[in-house]
Symmetry: C2
């Protein structure tokens, strides 16, 4: 074996152990009884430190050095570069920190599960303080090893190459654009008839059957994946076995259905990753913003569009035995594109969603930068919401406790949601302009032209290209908010 | 840290990674879509080799030697001895063999899943030949390292200290006893009215609710465990999160219910293991025969007894809205203790069950001993069944393909079923003679006196004692078939 093929074997083991960790996470979120939490935390801590040790052993550095000397093709070269990136990030941390962080994440997440329904931020604060201290330590260690600002060092784990220096102007642009735009959208919306929610209840069995039908139409392969239930919808698993989840509300089928369509977008990306590079770093999804672009492209760009509803409205009516105006395409379209400032990020429309992200982004930069403490989060949160959306949460349950991210250790993740929304608009526009049949086929329930284009331009690329290059090859330019804004204007001011 | 505490930390990691492997197995058997098989095989192979490397590193040998020099209490001493046992077994194999075996097990099991419904032994034979060659290689390597006969070296993994030299006379005794005894049982049974299966169908929701009710009555804690469905019932998980499974037949509730009660016996053992020794070798269940003794004690000794049915018959009737003679205690007792030679081990009554095990035990000894090849299994199987039970399977699906064990690599496991049946009778008799209220309380649906006794005598002992010593302390003597035979005579010739 050459140094390079030894590295491939090494990283295969590393990534496959990470897949095992993913199975444990899926299980924890969908089926694990509450009493299993502590043992599961132990299992995750041991798996994480075992993986860390595998990557940071003395052999890896030597192999990386040797492999850099030999002739490699473009994909191998990109793979080697991703290996080095992952190795650098791992060696920045010692094993004790990896273990302490894993345990603190599990403990804080457990505390949060109790604190959230009670809206009791004080109950989670002691665990959160421990976690924040370890996250800061992690950020500092990675910052030093990678020569980055601490926040960027965290962000880089989710968004390789992502930097505040590029996000800040994008977000400032949106902050300047959105408040005034929102006012015009609400005015425009007020001139149209308000949509009505079709009369429920919507039995869960019917919602589940409809979800399966829609997933199948989009190309989800149930021999290679599942739909289950969890408190928060997510997509997990591996390309050969993609696991998505949703949660059902008998009084409103739209929230569950849109979650399913969103997660199906993630799942289709995973399924389309390059099979020749399974269990290798470049075989993985490129970044969290690109992942989110694929889920939002399906959910926001496709499934909340008129062409999609031409196909879907009759299926929705049939699923619940409904007929009449409330079930027609036009009402459903207005229902699924209704704009309304609200407290909850995951329920937000695409016009107000960036504000939710910007609030979180500011706060997490301040926390990681050390200019704010965890105890100050509730007040800063409420102030941010008031400033950006004009509303104040009545309690922390609908405020700073609503998302799991900070409490399970995902600091530096939030901006990728809005980067993904911007990318989704840019990518979908490029797809439609490359293949004029995409929209007309969607109206017939045929997603193959769209998926074929996405497969080639995004999915099958894995991580072979940096994000700006991937976007440039797919859409003609790196990320900018232009198409996103045009999309919002077209949809909400028409 | 002393050498001993370092070893505790080392084995904690090793065992906790094994738990992660257990989660992957549970998932594979209950929810994994078929397309996930290959990736799952990869995950299991990597986890197994990673665990193997953890145990066989140079440090472990030194630590074991140092720890043997220092003062330890009895439990620590026993723990150290179990560590050494596990280390010796692991170091007998090199990593390539561990990986090859894991992959061959996954491949052969996958082939078997297709071959079994089709009854097509030829379809699984190529994979089985590969697997048998690797199992023989494993047996030879372990035999050499441990100074054991190759079959004993495999058996010892499931039944520490178990040897053919002790099993053979026990099984010969049963072989001499059972055929004549079976004749008398069938004669006796013919003189009583034949039981009737209460009229079905039995909706699965009702069977599931009844199973939950019975499990709760027995003390199964649903905050620390689950009941799910799988092709073959099993008990997996960890003491804090015990996962049992069953499968439902709408035409017969007894098979599913008895499987649930059997697996609940396994689960209660796991739940009762000593919490102070979690993630340590002596904190684990003692052996497969002791595990099976706990499941059979609950299923066969308790739940197929008259006192249990005094409690359970009304619940069963209520679960399915049934009333009348078919649902009464007396009919259900005759139904659940009906003896009838059949083809399928898992459906066998306790009188004919040992014959199923003896057929398999003979064959696996011959295969491991090299006097028989995998290709000869179907003919030898049919001959064995004809000789011991007087019946010949119409095809391999109901013959040598019926059990997963050989096809997923569990060679040397089968005798523990009958050792467990013998132990169950011996342990239950000791429990009843130690506490006269056990039987009367069972009739009222109160299992606490039984569980308290089992908890002290068996469960909380973990692996601190060798099997013969555990049985001697609990029942006054090591394993012998006397009480088992008396139990059969009392129940089936009364």
């Amino acid at each position: 074996m050459t140094a390079y093929t030894k590295l491939e074997d090494h990283f295969r083991r590393y990534l496959v152990l990470g897949q095992a960790e993913g199975v444990l996470h899926w299980d924890m979120s969908t089926v694990m009884p509450s009493g299993g939490s502590e043992t599961r935390a132990e299992q995750l801590a041991v798996l994480k430190t075992t993986r860390h040790a595998l990557l940071t052993g003395p052999e890896t550095a030597d192999l990386l050095e040797s492999a850099a000397q030999v002739e490699l093709d473009d994909w191998q070269r990109a793979n080697l570069s991703e290996m080095e990136r992952q190795w650098r990030r791992a060696t920045a941390l010692d094993e004790d920190l990896v273990e302490a962080l894993s345990r603190a994440e599990s403990a804080c997440e457990m505390a949060w599960r109790g604190a959230r329904p009670a809206g009791d931020f004080a109950a989670v604060l002691p665990d959160l303080n421990v976690l924040v201290a370890l996250v800061r330590e992690t950020a500092a260690a990675k910052a030093e090893a990678l020569g980055l600002d601490p926040y960027d060092a965290l962000l880089d784990a989710y968004e390789p190459g992502g930097r505040q220096a590029e996000i800040d102007p994008l977000f400032e642009d949106l902050e300047a654009f959105l408040p005034e735009f929102l006012g015009r959208v609400l005015e425009n919306q007020a001139r149209r008839p308000a949509p009505v929610l079709p009369p429920g209840p919507f039995p869960i069995a019917g919602q589940r059957a409809l979800a399966h039908e829609m997933m199948a139409a989009l190309g989800f392969d149930f021999d290679h994946g599942r739909l289950d239930e969890s408190r928060h919808p997510f997509c997990g698993g591996v390309p050969e076995d993609v696991r998505i989840t949703t949660r059902y509300d008998e009084n409103d089928f739209t929230s569950s259905l849109m979650a399913v369509l969103h997660e199906t977008g993630h799942a289709l990306y995973e399924r389309g990753l390059p099979p020749a590079w399974r269990h290798q770093p470049i075989g993985l999804a490129r970044s969290m913003s690109i992942h989110e672009s694929q889920s939002l492209l399906i959910e926001m760009q496709v499934c909340r569009s008129r062409p999609f509803l031409a196909f879907a409205a009759p299926l929705i009516g049939r699923a619940f035995g409904g007929a009449g105006e409330a079930w027609d395409e036009d009402n459903l379209y207005r229902l699924l594109t209704r704009v309304e400032p609200g407290l909850i990020r995951v329920d937000a429309d695409e016009v107000t969603y960036p504000a939710h992200v910007i609030v979180r982004y500011r706060l997490e930069k301040a926390i990681i930068g050390g200019t704010m403490e965890a105890a100050d989060i509730p007040a800063a949160w409420n102030e941010g919401m008031k400033g950006l959306l004009g509303i104040t949460p009545p309690g922390d349950g609908d405020g700073c406790l609503q998302d799991i991210h900070w409490y399970d250790g995902a600091w530096g993740y939030f901006p990728t949601y809005t980067l993904g929304a911007i990318a989704a608009a840019q990518i979908f526009a490029a797809a439609k302009s490359a293949d004029g049949t995409i929209t007309t086929e969607i109206a017939k329930g045929d997603f193959k032209p769209l998926l074929a284009w996405l497969g080639d331009a995004i999915h099958a690329k894995g991580s072979v290209l940096p994000v700006p290059e991937l976007l440039t090859q797919a859409t003609g330019r790196p990320l900018d908010a232009g198409v996103f804004k045009t999309h919002l204007e077209d949809r909400y001011l028409a």
